[in-house]
């Protein structure tokens, strides 16, 4: 396992996207938090948490602005259109719970259907949405494509794996300030995506749960308006 991590030859550390390789596959981490795989025309997003505001309310929490689902959809639509994606993989926790799949507003449901039209669409099961639900697309526990395995929660022993679940975020100290943003983390074996959903918090990249999954020369790609690459440690 002494392969060095190959970053894009252009040696850019900032831009709209960051190109890198895992298991010989060329992937792009987008500033939006989505993963673009040009060879497969495949866009992967993780932890959409549709319907989170509704679930919080059902559990007697505060009545948060119920616009999270459409905001997430708007960003997803723009990524799909900008990339020209034919294949979409939602990497689990797409819905905040199963009730949320039924509570969708009609306009939100038809928006999803509109995005699905003419595209391959895979819903990977997550811990929030473990069972298949009644919205179209393939419902799978994991998904393999050209040597890469897509699943919700990383397996410590896996290689060539793409997952989500942890909502990683990375913070940078800048002259007396600290900027904290959702991030991708990758090394030679695996990639973990940031949460794409609007109302999602994050887990610090320094947390043991994340650190234990990665080798010492792992990289983080922070998201936002542009991507920036930092070493994980």
């Amino acid at each position: 396992m002494n392969r060095t991590i190959s970053t894009d030859k252009s040696r850019e550390t900032a831009g709209r996207l960051h190109k890198f390789n895992i298991a010989g596959q060329s992937l792009c981490a987008l500033a939006s938090g989505a993963l673009w795989w040009p060879d497969q025309k495949m866009l992967t997003v993780s932890d959409l948490h549709f319907g989170k505001s509704g679930r919080i309310l059902r559990r007697s929490g505060p009545f948060l602005p119920p616009y999270d689902t459409r905001e997430t959809l708007a960003r997803l639509e723009s990524d799909i259109e900008n990339c020209g994606a034919n294949n979409i993989v939602c990497l689990g926790d797409s819905f905040d719970d199963i009730q949320a799949t039924q509570d969708l507003d009609d306009s939100e449901l038809s928006w999803i259907k509109h995005l699905q039209a003419g595209r391959q669409w895979v819903w990977i099961a997550g811990n929030h949405d473990p069972a298949p639900f009644s919205i179209g697309g393939s419902h799978l526990n994991e998904f393999c494509q050209s040597g890469l395995t897509f699943r919700h929660i990383a397996l410590p022993t896996a290689t060539a794996e793409v997952s989500g679940h942890y909502h990683p975020k990375y913070s940078v100290r800048l002259t007396g300030r600290r900027i904290s943003r959702p991030c991708f983390i990758y090394d030679e074996n695996r990639l973990i995506l940031p949460a794409y959903g609007t109302y999602t918090g994050g887990l610090k990249s320094s947390d043991d749960a994340l650190q234990s999954l990665f080798s010492k020369d792992a990289r983080v790609v922070i998201t936002g308006t542009t991507t920036h690459v930092f070493p994980l440690n």
Partner: protein
């Protein structure tokens, strides 16, 4: 009621006390529905407030609550309980007095609800919580009087607004209830009276003899103070000398961080080991109580303190107040000075210690204002609606309510009497349904309306959650600091979560006068070990930075025109003269702008004298405007009197920057996206119940932190820009941190009269600004540039790129 019963007179005689005229007046007018006493500290104010209650209960031994006493400080409630016990036991009155705060045990709290004492001493938050229970009407039945202590302090913040809404609630339960307010000297007693009374009832005001004018001076040393900073370290020796010359000294600071640093340095020079303590709001309760007890016992020669001692326990032995740093506000200065020498009819003694050169001017202006009895203050604005939202939630906890009745009740609270029914309904709608333009999740709304016109909580379990969120104190996520050991560690105090996040193990900071080493963050507790040897990093505590008041700023501007300034120390007068020669002194009706180059950067310095918050806003607005104009501003720093902006391109003609229409339009566009609005939103949304306060429990469970309130703000701005929470945020920001009204005042005062000086070097007035802390980087494309540079650097370090 005009006569003091014999038993009372005998008690006064036995103590060798004469009853004060204002205490008699309070007794005589005790039957009025609202009564405000304005008295200096030490004027027997508290006894004046309680005397009518004691007299009434001396002749009427009914069970149940007679008098409710509200204080902004928990410590004060406990202290008053002790103080009242003396006359009650010595006169032999059949009166039970108890206090109730967040620190009272659950068993005792429960018992108090079932069997209330005659006199209950509590805080606004504890009262709000009591009113959220269904049995509140039973507990408060028969309540005769409510005494609001330190009402001048409560009237300045949302705790007071919440209290007044609670009094309206109480008044409805107890129509016979009379209101009494006890206040320090204020600039507008009528405003406080209107605030206290049930609207539109009148309120009688009793003025106690204010006593002689204070003996107040500015400390002038051979060593001039430094050009910038707030530490006043240069004066430590002289302050120690004053402490030695006096019995007990209170040393006030404007911020907690400054108090900590000063205390640390004071002890380094305290060769005689004079007993000196420290007291501020970020210290652990145990620490504060120890200092208070030592003070009461007369064991301390001085206390280094902050606003946490602005109010509270009467310490009769204080004979000197030292104010470190400019007072910013004349009224607060006068109230602080009043803490010295509580013996009635002898002058309070105070010394002002300017922390830097500019503060000398501010101190001299403040001295003139004190002499002229010219107190400052802002006119009262209408009651904040985030507090109203919380009040509606509390009402719903107590049981079903009718909107018309609740509105009538709210209307009877002075600051809310101008609130339109539509604005009230917006708040009710927000509490009940979220108030969103998109109506989804209807069946989950928090309150539902039954056909009889009453609003009910949908889920009774909500009540517990609502109760946990009661209160308006803005606690910016604080983390406890503890000494690390096996037993869990001694609590030292609290620091802001943000500050904790900037620490790396091995860093040192000051807390409670100790230098401690940061070891780890364990289950949301900052663990530290003592580290007396190292030089501390500065601790950042929460705590407001006060803006210099309008009145004081105007005095300073007038002072500039009165050269050659015989009242000012020579070095300061020389500095002003040099500024006049090299550039120009700012004038009351004009804006002075200086431009110069230093170290390759283009600087623009604006002397607006609009107070720190407004000058900060001005900095944000102007840099935004400059960014659009392609001047590439990089950052700015603001003080009470000036904003210094630096960038890559010079400003050739500043006058158009100050056209009201331009600033206003930039303001409108800027307001939505800026950090101040997001912070204001977070505070308002927490009070209004949109965001739950993070309990310690919630922090421990769930490793993923909750998402930022900024996301909620951005989402609302995008999808529901007319939402009531955004309107409330805007109202609050305009009043508070944004302070746009003072920018408008500045524009009105100057009418576009801008003096532009292009200099070949830094001016004498601008030089200290280079040393100011709190530089604000411009959050534009520069941010991404910085991130790129940082990423390049670390990637190069690890051998890539």
């Amino acid at each position: 009621m005009s006569v003091l019963p014999v038993s009372f007179t005998q008690w006064f005689d036995a103590r060798g006390w004469a009853i004060h005229p204002h205490q008699t007046a309070m007794l005589k007018q005790a039957n009025l529905p609202a009564l405000l006493l304005i008295a200096p500290t030490g004027g027997g104010k508290t006894l004046a407030g309680f005397l009518p209650s004691l007299v009434e209960m001396g002749s009427d031994t009914r069970e149940g609550l007679h008098t409710l006493y509200i204080s902004p400080l928990k410590a004060l409630a406990a202290d008053i309980a002790r103080n009242l016990s003396t006359p009650i036991s010595e006169i032999g009155l059949p009166i039970r007095v108890e206090h109730r705060t967040g620190d009272t045990s659950a068993t005792k709290k429960k018992r108090q609800r079932a069997d209330p004492p005659h006199i209950l001493l509590t805080t606004p938050e504890s009262l709000a919580l009591l009113l959220s229970f269904e049995d509140a009407p039973r507990m408060f039945a028969g309540l005769q009087r409510v005494v609001v202590d330190e009402i001048h302090a409560l009237a300045e913040n949302k705790r007071g607004d919440q209290l007044m809404l609670c009094l309206a609630r109480l008044q409805k339960m107890c129509p016979q209830m009379r209101r009494v307010g006890l206040s320090a000297t204020v600039e507008d007693p009528d405003a406080i009276a209107r605030y206290l009374a049930r609207h539109p009832d009148p309120c009688e005001i009793i003025h106690a003899d204010p006593g002689p004018d204070p003996d107040i001076q500015m400390m002038v040393l051979d060593t001039p103070p430094p050009w910038a900073g707030g530490g006043a370290a240069y004066a430590i020796g002289a302050v120690l000398d004053e402490v030695k010359r006096h019995k007990t000294t209170l040393i006030f600071h404007n911020t907690r961080a400054q108090a900590e640093i000063f205390f640390h340095k004071l002890w380094l020079e305290n060769s005689e080991s004079l007993p000196i303590g420290i007291h501020h709001g970020s210290l652990a309760r145990e620490q504060r109580e120890r200092v208070e007890a030592a003070m009461v016992a007369g064991q301390l020669r001085a206390i280094v303190c902050t606003g946490s001692l602005d109010l509270g326990i009467d310490w009769g032995d204080v004979d000197l107040v030292i104010q470190i740093g400019a007072p910013k506000n004349v009224k607060r200065l006068v109230q602080r000075i009043g803490r010295a020498n509580h013996r009635y009819n002898s002058p309070s003694k105070a010394i002002l210690v300017p922390a830097n050169r500019f503060e000398i001017i501010e101190c001299v202006a403040a001295l003139q204002a004190v002499k002229a009895h010219d107190l400052d203050g802002d006119p009262r604005s209408s009651g904040p609606r985030d507090v109203l939202c919380q009040h509606i939630l509390i009402a719903a906890c107590a049981g079903p309510f009718n909107a018309d009745q609740l509105h009538a009740e709210v209307y009877s609270s002075g600051d809310y009497s101008a609130l339109s029914r539509a604005d009230f309904d917006d708040c009710l709608n927000f509490v009940a349904t979220g108030g969103y333009a998109l109506s989804s999740y209807d069946r989950w709304q928090r309150l539902h309306l039954t056909p009889d016109g009453f609003w009910h909580l949908r889920d009774p379990r909500l009540a517990a959650k609502i109760r946990m969120n009661i209160g308006t104190i803005q606690d910016t996520d604080l983390l406890p600091v503890r000494l690390k050991n096996r037993m869990g560690g001694k609590p030292l105090g609290e620091v802001e979560e943000y500050f904790a996040s900037t620490l790396t193990p091995g860093d040192t900071f000051l807390i409670g006068g100790k230098v401690v080493r940061y070891d780890s963050l364990n289950e949301q507790v900052v663990q530290v070990t003592p580290n007396p040897a190292k030089k501390p990093k500065v601790a950042v505590f929460s705590g407001t930075k006060f803006s210099c008041s309008t009145q004081l700023s105007e005095r300073i501007l007038r002072l500039f025109q009165m050269g050659p300034w015989p009242d000012l120390p020579r070095h300061t007068a020389d500095w002003l003269a040099l500024q006049a020669t090299v550039s120009k002194l700012p004038e009351p009706g004009r804006i002075l702008v200086e431009s110069f180059v230093d170290d390759g950067r283009e600087y623009t310095c604006i002397y607006g004298f609009a107070g720190r918050n407004a000058m900060q806003t001005l900095g944000l607005l102007l840099t935004q405007h400059m960014e659009t104009a392609g001047l590439h501003p990089l950052g700015f720093v603001a003080t009470d009197y000036a904003t210094l902006i630096w960038g890559l391109e010079p400003v050739h003609d500043p006058a158009p920057l100050f056209e009201k229409a331009v600033l206003k339009s930039v303001f409108e566009g800027w307001l939505a996206g800026n950090a101040v609005m997001k912070r204001t939103f977070k505070n308002a949304a927490t009070i209004a119940g949109l965001i739950e306060r993070r309990s310690i429990h919630a922090k421990k469970s769930g490793r993923q932190t909750s998402f930022s309130s900024d996301i909620l703000y951005d989402t609302l701005c995008k999808y529901d820009p007319e939402h009531v929470m955004l309107k409330i945020t805007r109202e609050e920001a305009m009043k508070g941190l944004v302070d746009f009204s003072r920018i408008e005042d500045m524009l009105a005062r100057t009418h576009g009269r801008v003096d532009h000086r292009v200099l070949d070097r830094v001016s004498p007035f601008a030089a200290p600004l280079f040393l100011e802390m709190g530089r604000v980087p411009v959050d534009g494309s520069g941010n991404e540039r910085l991130l790129s540079a940082a990423a390049e650097q670390v990637m190069t370090q690890v051998g890539i790129g």
